[in-house]
Assembly symmetry: C2
Homo-oligomer: 209 residues x 2
Amino acid sequence: MVKYPTGSAVPYRASAPKDRGFWKKAGKRASFSDRGMTLEQQINESNQYYLNKAVAVVHKKPTPIQIVKVDYPKRSKAVIREAYFRQASTTDYNGVYRGYYLDFEAKETQNKTSFPLKNFHEHQIVHLHQCLQQDGICFAIIGFMTLERYFVTPATFLIKCWNDWQKNGKSSMSLEEIEANSIEIKSGFRPALPYIDAVDQIIADRNKQ
Amino acid sequence: MVKYPTGSAVPYRASAPKDRGFWKKAGKRASFSDRGMTLEQQINESNQYYLNKAVAVVHKKPTPIQIVKVDYPKRSKAVIREAYFRQASTTDYNGVYRGYYLDFEAKETQNKTSFPLKNFHEHQIVHLHQCLQQDGICFAIIGFMTLERYFVTPATFLIKCWNDWQKNGKSSMSLEEIEANSIEIKSGFRPALPYIDAVDQIIADRNKQ
């Protein structure tokens, strides 16, 4: 029998940036629902919840690193002594849900009225487009952290906005546009961010077409 | 319009281990077909081919690293000065092909008659099982490098063998068992390893059931 790892909860702040202002900022916007978690933390916790409940298998991809020098000290584990961050060629998250391939990027903003498209990288847009061509379920999770509002924005709309930016210079999506073209999800307790509810809706909409 | 990165070929030996014997070893088994590439190199090159041809979108996941110390030198890019390798919680490859979620692990052996199951990690088997439950297309690509023979082995068979090992101590799959339960693929020119042909067969078999 395949043994399952015990379903320990992801530590909420394990990957918090080592920024002295972080705790203060996090404390400021702490509430019952999002408990001061970053968007990434909320998604990671939700993924763990979905995995434990056998709802979906979605993981964050590791940050790509170019390793240059590794020490192998006696009697202890290998230490990387020189390495560099590389540009990722895909989005941060992918996985499988009821036979569907899911692919998404998560982005947060402190803005209150619009989301700047420069927060996405071109390779992420290209990758989402490639996955759409293969009939993947592709989207962005956009967090307006100050407003505590979260949107699942289908990649089709995101790519349309990106193309408008290239053509007409319109460099952001207004909150109204995002509201009109996304599925809003409410930050909650378990899972922290029930984005699979929005995925269900994207699948239903797609099957209607 | 979404711009595509130019479809440059993956350098064959870019990720070759810094092992002085490598070139020699690679040279020994070089042939017209696999051109001395490791299994990973053959798969990465095939993924690039499939991506360029819009056949499938499959990427290798980066190695997970725990970063402890980063220097930010003036006028040059950040350098990671202390980091450790972490255990991956998934397989190395996943992606999307015609709406299907693909998930697989690649393993090579110099053996000629059997494949030792200890080459897989338990978390990989657990992950493949979880993805199967979500109706993913899950398999291993097993390379008998000395024989220059390559097999796409469905995860269902792999998990069965893993469970047999836990129960009865049978710690390897014989070449005959692999032949009988896998789809053999021939190393070629473009793509280096046409594993999507085997995926088509797995999908066809599944749809028959």
